[in-house]
């Protein structure tokens, strides 16, 4: 009884802030040593290893000065330390982005148009919901249609602002993430795994993003519970409306098919289990606590009276199902479930988080995210108690396991994965050295989100619960190249520099230098060799492409090696070169 009481109390306490680390201090030294050994044994050279790490555990390399004067051993050690750092990064540095976004102002002559369009990036779920609720009440109290329409227009703008803030803050977080930022990469992974849509979950979507991000280094069980109880997921998959008398199966189905088992072949559950899981989760709704006249706090609320408290056996009729007995709910003297019945759903989440199918599914998806592929032996090793643990999935241990497999750092993984549209756009701006203070701007974020949408992802508003694909080929290099002028319309290449006679040339100076060099090459005995030499230097020194592989890109031949073919429209020769490089097959992969 005492245990049940404790469980019921947990449901009304604020969500526990995760403080788990992906890499505890006690493991750091051995983790770094393992990585250094793997780098030394790898069939990739140090340039490739650095590029690979930045592509898989970040959003690509930034421009830098080469050649690197450090020894190979020093670079290996620094790379290992950088990866270790990135596993221990706290989320504090990301909060500055939300504050900066909220501080942005637009100019408008219409007093009804909010000028602080990203202010919801830095407001709480309670504040966002309350703003809408107060507006709704004003609309209802309006005495004439004109006033009602005006207020509805205002509410529409607030809704748009919340949705745009949701996408913009998520993208800005990635844009300003550190060069190696494993927790940012994994935060994005989890947001996609437990996908919601900002169209349907509006005022709850940003809090949901933050809630998942804070738990990326805890246990899978904590993430699963945080998602299951959050108003955003509850609204997105309709579990808020599921009662004993009107069961809604939407969330239960995706919980089994996507969030945990990942089993669409019905090996571990059958259709009747979907309905029965939904019954166990009836009464998991949303409450709106009125804090004062204009402040309403939305939160998870368990409505015991609408809970289906019957004893249920789950999963035992599936081919590979393992029985879960969910006992009948504790009832009060009048045979109504007590608030302790919420523990039945938590028992279910415990079961799911520890299930072999869930372990395999999550390990497989994480392996695909980090390695690009997920062989069966790797997945089963990851899913074993030695890594996953028996406490609901130790995510830090899973990440460390995957990062310290030899295949993570070998040619079989290098450049074997397509960048998705988000990675492509973020890494393009990163590669050209866009300064952080030019990221937090309305035009830049809007154009970047539009570019990502053109390539196939309506970021933070992907309708299907599957989220966006992590495995397929997004677009061919040819298609990307067609989009190039639009996708990279606001590239900032001014930060790119080429070292010439101990001086770094940038911008117009660099362009003038390149034209002079190309003219000199044209007049040389072997123009083709001279142009290739220049292109190779740009490739390695300015763009940090390892070796001369960029020269294998046919479009580079067309636009740079033969400068007479560079037509108008591109403001500078350097920019033309960079755009072509970013549309190259090499850049499209990671």
């Amino acid at each position: 009884m005492r245990r049940l009481l404790a469980l019921s109390l947990l449901t009304v306490l604020p969500a526990i802030e995760a403080s788990a680390q992906c890499l505890p201090d006690s493991l750091r030294s051995s983790f770094e040593s393992q990585l250094v050994s793997l780098f030394a044994a790898s069939d990739l050279d140090i340039d490739q290893l650095e590029a690979h790490a930045h592509d898989r555990l970040g959003f690509g390399l930034r421009p830098g000065n080469t050649p690197d004067t450090r020894t190979v051993a020093e670079r290996r050690a620094a790379l290992a330390a950088g990866i270790a750092d990135s596993l221990g990064l706290a989320n504090e540095h990301r909060n500055n982005v939300d504050e900066a976004l909220a501080a942005l102002r637009l100019t408008s002559s219409n007093p009804d148009v909010p000028t602080d369009i990203y202010r919801h990036a830095d407001t709480t779920m309670t504040e966002s919901y309350s703003e809408l609720e107060v507006l709704r009440r004003r609309i209802r109290a309006a005495t004439n249609q004109t006033e009602r329409d005006r207020l509805r227009g205002l509410r529409n703008r607030v809704l748009s602002s919340i949705r745009e803030s949701t996408a913009s803050r998520a993208l800005a977080q990635l844009m300003v993430s550190r060069s190696l930022d494993t927790t940012a990469v994994l935060g994005e992974f989890w947001a996609n795994h437990f996908n919601i849509s900002s169209t349907k979950s509006t005022w709850a979507a940003i809090d949901y993003q933050k809630t998942l991000s804070r738990r990326a280094c805890g246990t899978f069980r904590e993430l699963l519970t945080a998602s299951a109880k959050h108003p955003a997921m509850s609204m997105y998959l309709d579990n808020f409306s599921s009662t004993a008398n009107a069961i809604n199966e939407n969330y239960a189905r995706e919980l089994l098919e996507l969030h945990t088992f990942g089993d669409d072949r019905l090996r571990f559950y059958r259709q009747n289990d979907v309905r029965n899981v939904a019954r166990v989760l009836t009464g998991w709704g949303i409450g709106f606590q009125e804090l004062d006249r204009d402040t309403f706090r939305p939160r998870f609320q368990f409505y015991a009276a609408s809970h289906d408290g019957a004893a249920i056996n789950l999963f035992n009729s599936a081919p590979q199902g393992v029985l879960l007995r969910v006992p009948a709910a504790a009832m009060n003297s009048n045979n109504i479930p007590t608030s302790a019945a919420v523990s039945r759903g938590e028992l279910l989440l415990d079961y799911l988080a520890n299930h072999t199918a869930t372990r395999n599914n999550i390990c497989r998806k994480l392996a695909i995210r980090l390695h690009g592929t997920a062989p069966a032996d790797l997945v089963s090793a990851c899913a074993a108690n030695g890594v996953w643990g028996n406490g609901g999935g130790d995510l830090g241990a899973v990440y460390r396991f995957l990062l310290t497999r030899p295949r993570m750092w070998n040619a079989e993984t290098y450049q074997r994965k397509d960048k998705n549209p988000i990675e492509l756009i973020v890494s393009a701006h990163r590669r050209t050295g866009r300064a952080a203070d030019t990221i937090i701007t309305v035009p830049f974020l809007r154009l970047s989100l539009k570019s990502i949408e053109m390539l196939g992802i309506h970021y933070t508003d992907v309708g299907p619960p599957t989220g966006y694909e992590d495995e397929n080929i997004w677009r061919s290099a040819g298609e990307i190249f067609r989009f190039t002028p639009i996708l990279f319309a606001n590239l900032d290449t001014s930060a790119l520099g080429l070292r010439v006679n101990n001086r770094v040339l940038r911008g117009a100076d660099l362009d003038t230098f390149l034209r002079a060099e190309l003219n000199a090459a044209a007049a040389s005995a072997n123009p083709s060799v001279a142009r290739r030499t220049l292109a190779a230097r740009l490739s390695t020194e300015v763009l940090r492409y390892p070796s001369n592989s960029l020269l294998t890109v046919p479009s580079i031949e067309g636009t740079f090696l033969y400068p007479d073919r560079v037509s108008g429209g591109d403001p500078t020769l350097m920019r033309s070169f960079v755009e072509t490089a970013l549309a190259s097959r090499q850049f499209l992969r990671k």
């Binding site: 227009g153 009662t243 009107a246 409450g287 409505y303």
Partner: protein, 98 residues
């Protein structure tokens, strides 16, 4: 998302306004309807009912645990109706008032 939620919303609003007696047939509804405690299942609103997407009104109930359960059920149904009305409002707004 764009499908009409109006019929369902109206159903829940209707149930809410009618009180416990009119709950759909089910374990809770049957049990509640069979008891004298139902008389104490009184919902007191402090603001207008949610025909236009009203917030779940504060509810005060005197009586037995069964009466509290009735109030909680009403509370949940009101929460559902409220959220559905919010969806409906948002869809109406997206339709065009600018």
């Amino acid at each position: 998302m764009r499908r009409s939620l109006l019929p369902t919303t109206a159903l829940f609003l209707g149930l809410f306004l009618a009180g416990c007696e009119e709950l759909p047939n089910g374990p809770e509804a049957t049990e509640l309807a069979d008891t004298e405690d139902l008389a104490t299942c009184t919902v007191t609103r402090t603001e207008a009912p949610p025909e236009l997407g009203g917030a779940p009104p504060p509810i005060s109930v005197e009586g037995s645990p069964r009466a509290s359960a009735c109030a909680e059920l009403n509370d949940h149904l009101a929460s559902i109706a409220h959220i559905r009305a919010l969806f409906e409002d948002e869809m109406l707004d997206e339709g065009g008032v600018e």
